[in-house]
Subunit: 323 residues, 2 copies
Amino acid sequence: MTKRPDVRQAGKGKGGGRQMIDRLIDAVKKKANPSVIGLDPTIEMMPEFLKKKYFGECGRTPEAAGRMFVEFNRSIIDAVKDIAPAVKPQIAMYERFGEAGIRAYNETCRYARGQGLIVIGDIKRGDISSTAAAYAAHIGNVDIQGAQSETWYEDAVTLNPYMGSDGIKPFLEICRSSDKGLFILVKTSNPSSSEMQDLVLADGRTVYEACGKLVSDWGAELIGKYGYSKVGAVVGATHRAQGAKLRKSLPHTFFLVPGYGAQGASADDIAGFFDENGLGAVVNSSRGITSSYKKSDDFREEQYAEAAQAAAVKMCEDLQRVL
Amino acid sequence: MTKRPDVRQAGKGKGGGRQMIDRLIDAVKKKANPSVIGLDPTIEMMPEFLKKKYFGECGRTPEAAGRMFVEFNRSIIDAVKDIAPAVKPQIAMYERFGEAGIRAYNETCRYARGQGLIVIGDIKRGDISSTAAAYAAHIGNVDIQGAQSETWYEDAVTLNPYMGSDGIKPFLEICRSSDKGLFILVKTSNPSSSEMQDLVLADGRTVYEACGKLVSDWGAELIGKYGYSKVGAVVGATHRAQGAKLRKSLPHTFFLVPGYGAQGASADDIAGFFDENGLGAVVNSSRGITSSYKKSDDFREEQYAEAAQAAAVKMCEDLQRVL
């Protein structure tokens, strides 16, 4: 694996232009790594010395937790920014702490972006028309009586498709005119995803296959230089056969793949999610990277970022093995 | 219609106990009104004098917008609190403004709750296991190394079912032991809801009917004194026939019904969503109430709250006509 330190240019290259998906694929190629580092902090994940520092200063408050998460994330970002092309903060892990958590989420996104990483906000929002347009602030500016304000800092976000096009269109509109992207839930990594997503339709398809077709249609007009659309799909690593089948039926849909590592899927499970060029998917790992210091004898807890870096390199090598 | 001023007790009556759904139905009966007032502020909705006040003081910033929304909402809440049993703030309309918006959302929820209204947070979250548990902070406390913190202030929230039980269970657990409730998307009010929700399954049911069955199963253990579960369903007013059919097939599932008024559905469309006792559903109106001052010659813009009150009374009478 070649590590390229000039990642800070990733978003600015002329190759990327205004196509977020090209920018992501360029970064994957440059770093020879289809990994996404999940930034999903919990109190339990934090090293004891950080808990002492922040809870000692401010008490065990949401504010202290949020500030601690930002320090933790910044160190992780610094450690992986030359290895991985993208990070994926899961907003729920911040939202849990109310306003203070949201502040930490935004600071994390801003810092990662400033370090040249692509930020995929795992927000899984889904609502209709004017409400969807409000959520679209995650990837667009907000107009306050003519004054433009940037209130969120993601490059791409995940969305829920249950409400159909009405929930997606406001996001598509922004993607059309700016360097932003989407990943829409198709087949999620959890066991009970079958309850809704595997229901079999009268025409023989499953619900998730029908959903995949919708996602492909939504993205048809937004295809970049590598043949992939700015409108991608979330396809869980835990569904080996289904993922490989979707790869074939959705040749222009890029996959964001959760479920590797802590959720149980291996690199072999994911091999079929990639195309013949080793592109077509990025694979997320969260706890497997950020909590790795807890499972290693090689690192003290103060070295949590070094441990994460080592885990990120190991994950990259593991994925490259099957590409 | 009888207006009862002692609504502030609604959440505290012995009848309600620890069953949020009983508390909601008690309030509906006491106020003889199955309305929910949607608190979905936009800049366009705000009276000019408020915009001058807040943007003049602080500039056209997210902070100014958030503070303005809180003043607006407080006046609306004061005006409708003796008429309607519940309010439903749509979090997207606040989240659009980032952290400042989230602060306004939380202040709105807290104020409404303090005034004795039941607060249904329209958050439509949906994720898996530990992530769903993080989102469940909306209705439960957060544990920060043993210190309990309340970071959100809703009595009930809406959820998205696409990921199945894994996304719902952490919320069910909280509902089991506390006075909180859920409304899970089944058939939404928007036109494109058909793209996913009306897909026909091999067994002849639609996806939304299968979803309704899941919701009913999830709520089976949480049924209150009126025969309705703490786990309700979102069923759009714009689907007259489907709503009536769901009412029959889901006798223990209470409905939260958006789509009345501004979205085009009338009281007659909704009649079939109620049971033979006139219970079984609450109907939301947002813009139809909060923007009513704009469409009336009877009120100056300074009287936006009085206009909202008049619109709320009119809506109540309109609904009572069909019960």
